[in-house]
Symmetry: D2
Subunit: 333 residues, 4 copies
């Protein structure tokens, strides 16, 4: 039974608390948050204690921590938690600074404890099925990957300003998805972005609409489309062309009802946003972490995966500014 | 906070235990079962006590019982539980005997406690959305209802023999669905059935494939198709034609992946059976029960609904044997 | 090269004229109609001559006639045309009177010329694919057939009055579809009908909504649903359950565009009515007739098929009136 | 009645001959081809004469010519035909050389006769519906366009060598589709290509898989994906994100049959290649040409559209080689 401390008590921490308590292999021991009241509320709901982060990290009875705090604390907490001998599952991204993330990776490696990054979409049943099908060779040799990832509505500009930008905040999930499905990182990144959804996003120095092309050493190509606004819901699709077929993971809909009238045939919209869409993925992600940590088997997503996705975001950010392709080697230094 | 005793510790009882414990308005106090070990296991998993049924019914601290025992005990337990002042949610069917169910209805009415019958499909998000759309008049006046309800595989003949037959055991859900959607009971029932899936089912005096037509006083018509075998999964669809459109609630699929190869375009099968398909419905059913009981508002499904569905099953059983239409009035006596 | 005379110059005759002229194995020689002007217009458009029906039937250079006149003339024209040595393709139904159709069948048999009845739906690419898949055993042994057949809007009551009623005029297509797919005629017919779409139809002694259940000697069951009104378009679907799977032929849509907005996800409606939906079927039907007649191979649909469907319509008409099942044997006399 | 000469008697010329003869506003007078036998065969099938190209161009009774010869003859024939006073519909591309196409445009403008380029996909009912919906503002302001265009199988390398390469031969259709839907030409073109389908294609100096990103002056973005091989059929989809919704034009399937078995749920493949998919588009294209020429209204696709698409192909070819973005201005000189 894995004893777990949860760092952070915000909305996503609540999702993780459910996953931890409903998993037969783990138990939630303690919750911390800079907002003590929030920590108290979450802890009591799930039968755990509210503590300070220090108290959690110093408790030898706690085996693992789940880091669900703000991004700027991730690197520090990964270093401290692994230093304290804890296995770690940390929300993405590792950091907004690639250099800081790489330094964290060095420290964590020295500490020798497993660190998994929360790329929850790898555990979505649809994407996981697509990946498994491709790995079984059901469409032959993979050639061309296409990822569509649109949020339902743009966040406030205040959030945009501290987010690290669309590539580090939003497309980072898709970079990891590309790495997951292609089983390799690309050689170069080519980004075209603009702010046509909301001029205020452009004024803040970010883009809200972007297309990124990834070129791989073996000639394969991937393309990622992002928009901060798809008014019909959370649009999350993956499409993979191979030498003997095509795989598509389509959206999940709110229900299966179809209405036919003189106005046409209509069905439900995609599930609204990430909590609705990826709820099963969060549970599967946690189960995979528990299994890997308790059996000593390799983690399905590593800190290195987090650094790779961040490097791609860095390259895309540069490419979108210059209009030129950026090699991954150049940003990795 | 509704304090709940769970009668029965089988597979469906486990589903209910999850619904009870995860609902913020209810808590699971005790579990009983004729198999004491099963009761103990389930109770301990959900932090409750294993007790005798008597002990549960006699405990004044318990507000409600959920009856998930075998069908032949339902009527007795409904009578005893309401007599002991408990609110009741009882799995369907009320009884295999219409007369016994009607007697139970009389006793329960005298006892004056709310009794809800577990027609979980009313709470399926797809069927509930279809019903809400029809009630809002989105397809005008309703005219023709069609229910497709196929199980993935027939049960053992030993089960068939004690089940009360396809109409009372399986189609009873669809009778209730018709009552739910049409908002009325039919005038007459016309059944055609045969045993072509498994001759052993026919030898046991039952049918495994049936079409039942329901005629309503206002000229509306409903048709229900049942088969004990749909090898591709649990096929659960409803289709409602109205004066200004059509509503269809389609199957839920295991995932959204589509594969295109030279062999064609293929997608996932329907979710396999009722636990996979109706898991969200069980949680919503329980939530509706808790709300009704704790606020004193009318139950969304009543013991009368259970009796009506059973009467339709009785009529269909007679009609399938004689080949003639059977009025509901004639079986209600 | 089959030389063809076309009897009738109405709307459906125009469809047939296109099929005849575009088929490399046939040529349209002459057209007749009680409205001489209509015959003239159609003939000139397709490079044929307008003639009297007598002149067509008496012309030894004409090999085949296509009868697209009003229903009350079909039996007479089949008898005269076969008597004159012509191969015949006649629009459905053979006649509104089963006795008259049977008499016609006797005469045609004596005349020894091939007579095909225009059950065009057998040649629809979707239904033909479903049938071929079933015949290849792709879903094992067939068990339960379901046909949905809704017209977009009811015809004028004046038409209803001379139509022979819903079962002879509209459902006759579905009776033939059942015979086509099941490869057998049913033992008994059980109809429930009502007039809820338009009370004037009921006042005229007909129904506008009906469900018919067909019971087969081997225990198989078919169910046909008809409505005179589906405001969203022509709803033509077939569904066949077998021991190892399900086949569904779905509607054809006007286009493949899908629109997703805050209002939901919407797509095009089914093609509006029979001309749009079955245009490819009419061409395929004619091609099959030409092939059979010119090669001397059996016709894919025979006059006997037309009589069988009419007998089922007769049985259904009786059953809808009495509420009792009617055997096919009883109406065939 | 438009009198038409058809230059070329190959496969696509046959498709055009059908469109010309079945259109009530045009008649096919003569056919020419360097293969006199082919011209003779096609002419006799459609009731026209086989002639030399000169004889067609010099015949004052011929109003229009349809150019369906090999690409290297297009510019010359456009110049000669317009010089001879004919209206012209010419198959795409105008030329493999952008400079030559531009020179042709100058000559044709001087000759003052209408020249339409055969971008047939604009007339596909699905894409035309998508465009009309966008133009009506049904998804608000358009932002991000995505075109998927995969051929079922690569052509022989011998064809590749004279084709002008993937961008001029295959993606040129998609460049025109982007211009059609966006209503503007892009500022710059960014191409990533590789030859992973067939190394022989790479050895011939071409790519078989490519992703091209188009950046527009107003910040909008389009992305085009091409592959020479999609084994499941002709994959032709368009997707347009706007400020208030998404439009998708999906593939047309061979039929609507769905089969559900233990192996999954399968449906028909997309129509196999351009003749199957775009047959209705060829007829609609010709109808639009006839209407524009006979009424003197503007052509729906012009020679300028052909030059614009060719310029984008030229830019993409350069970009794929250098890895750098290429502005349209730089190739237009």
């Amino acid at each position: 039974m894995l004893k777990v401390g949860l760092l952070g008590a915000g909305r996503i921490a609540g999702v993780h608390a459910t996953a931890i308590t409903s998993n037969p292999g783990s138990t939630l021991v303690a919750v911390s948050d800079i907002n003590a009241e929030a920590a108290g509320r979450l802890a009591s709901q799930y039968g755990a204690e509210a503590r300070s982060t220090d108290a959690i990290l110093n408790d030898p009875a706690i085996d693992a921590v789940l880091i669900a705090t703000s991004t700027d604390t991730h690197s520090d907490l990964i270093e401290r938690a692994t230093g304290a001998g804890k296995a770690v599952l940390c929300e993405k991204p590792v950091d907004l600074s690639l250099a800081r993330a790489q330094a964290c990776q060095t420290v964590a490696a020295r500490n020798g404890k497993p660190v998994m990054i929360g790329f929850n979409r790898r555990f979505d049943p649809n994407f996981a099925t697509l990946k498994a099908s491709a790995d079984k060779g059901e469409i032959g040799k993979t050639e061309l990957l296409s990822i569509t990832s649109f949020d339902p509505a743009p966040p406030p500009v205040a959030y945009i300003k501290v987010s690290g930008g669309l590539f580090r905040d939003m497309m980072i999930h898709d970079f990891d998805m590309a790495n997951f499905i292609m089983g390799a990182v690309p050689v170069s990144v080519l980004a075209v972005g603009s702010s046509i959804v909301d001029p205020a996003i452009g004024a803040a120095g970010d883009v809200d609409t972007a297309v990124v092309t990834l070129a791989y050493a073996d000639g394969r190509i991937a393309v990622i489309k992002n928009s901060r606004r798809a008014v019909y819901g959370y649009d999350q699709r993956v499409e993979l062309l191979g030498s003997s077929g095509l795989l598509q993971a389509q959206n999940m809909l709110e229900n299966t009802v179809v209405k036919s009238t003189t106005a046409g045939v209509s069905s439900a919209k995609p599930t609204y946003f990430f909590l609705e869409r990826y709820m099963p993925a969060y549970a599967a992600e946690w189960a995979a972490f528990v299994t890997a940590v308790t059996t000593g088997t390799p983690l399905p997503v590593t800190l290195a995966d987090g650094v790779a996705a961040l490097a791609m975001a860095e390259a895309a950010t540069q490419s979108a500014k210059t209009g030129l392709p950026v090699t991954l080697a150049s940003v990795l230094g």
